[in-house]
């Protein structure tokens, strides 16, 4: 992957193995938060490798991932970067998954069925005000 010029501002990392979904979310968030650098990872392992250098402000984490799942990835990521906020983003909208994400350290849970209505407000609530300006 070619390195892009990173604009000043917070980094948002999307962890999603389904490439079309990852790209859709990346576009959605790039438009909503132009001051942020929005990047993607296709697995939990790749995300954890990138986290140290990226130091993302917010991570959008799918639950069902190949290899390590999103709940375990959240737990490990929060141990590495306690100030990073994690938004679980999953088609599994049952309380058991929400609770598991919360206990792993996630700050929010957005069902994939509500991506277009809820994901941007959920992330906006976790970014510093300066990152919300266009």
């Amino acid at each position: 992957m070619a390195k892009e010029e990173k604009p000043p501002g917070a980094t948002v990392l999307i962890v999603e193995d389904h490439a079309p979904t990852r790209e859709m979310v990346r576009l959605l968030l790039s438009r909503a938060f132009p001051a942020c650098h929005v990047v993607g990872a296709e697995s939990a392992e790749q995300a954890l490798e990138q986290c140290a250098s990226l130091n993302p402000r917010v991570v959008v984490m799918d639950i069902s991932l190949p290899g390590m799942d999103g709940i375990e990835a959240t737990r490990r990521l929060k141990a590495l970067l306690p100030d990073t906020r994690v938004v679980m983003h999953s088609s599994h909208d049952e309380p058991i998954y929400r609770d598991a994400g919360t206990l792993a350290g996630a700050s929010a849970f957005v069902a994939k069925s509500r991506t277009y209505s809820d994901l941007v407000p959920a992330i906006a609530g976790l970014l510093p005000p300066a990152m919300l300006r266009t």
């Binding site: 906020r85 609770d99 206990l103 957005v110 809820d118 407000p121």
Partner: protein, 125 residues
Amino acid sequence: MSHLNVLVVDDNPQFLKAVRQMIAGLPGVDRVDCANSAAEALVRIGKSSPHLVLTDLSMPNMNGLELIRSLRAAPAPPRVVMMTLHDSPAHRAAALRMGAEECVAKHELGVVLPELIASLAGPAR
């Protein structure tokens, strides 16, 4: 006895209504507001400065733990009690670690709330 302003936060409108009715009748309570989400709670807290916030742990979008974290950053944060569907040590530990005063299973609210409100409505420390 001081007059408490209380904010209840839960994504279930029926539960909110039930808890509001329960609290509104307790001695020492002046006002009970409700919020259907953590985001709405943050707006209401900025406007009404409640003394006590009762918040659900598990809500869509921002959860109760993140709400507590956001409240702690404020200059004079309200006291917070976490409400959970299940009485689990893990939930309790997470809530207390984040700064909640107490973590109460929802089915115990009828017993715990009157005592809690009475202790908060007493003389200031």
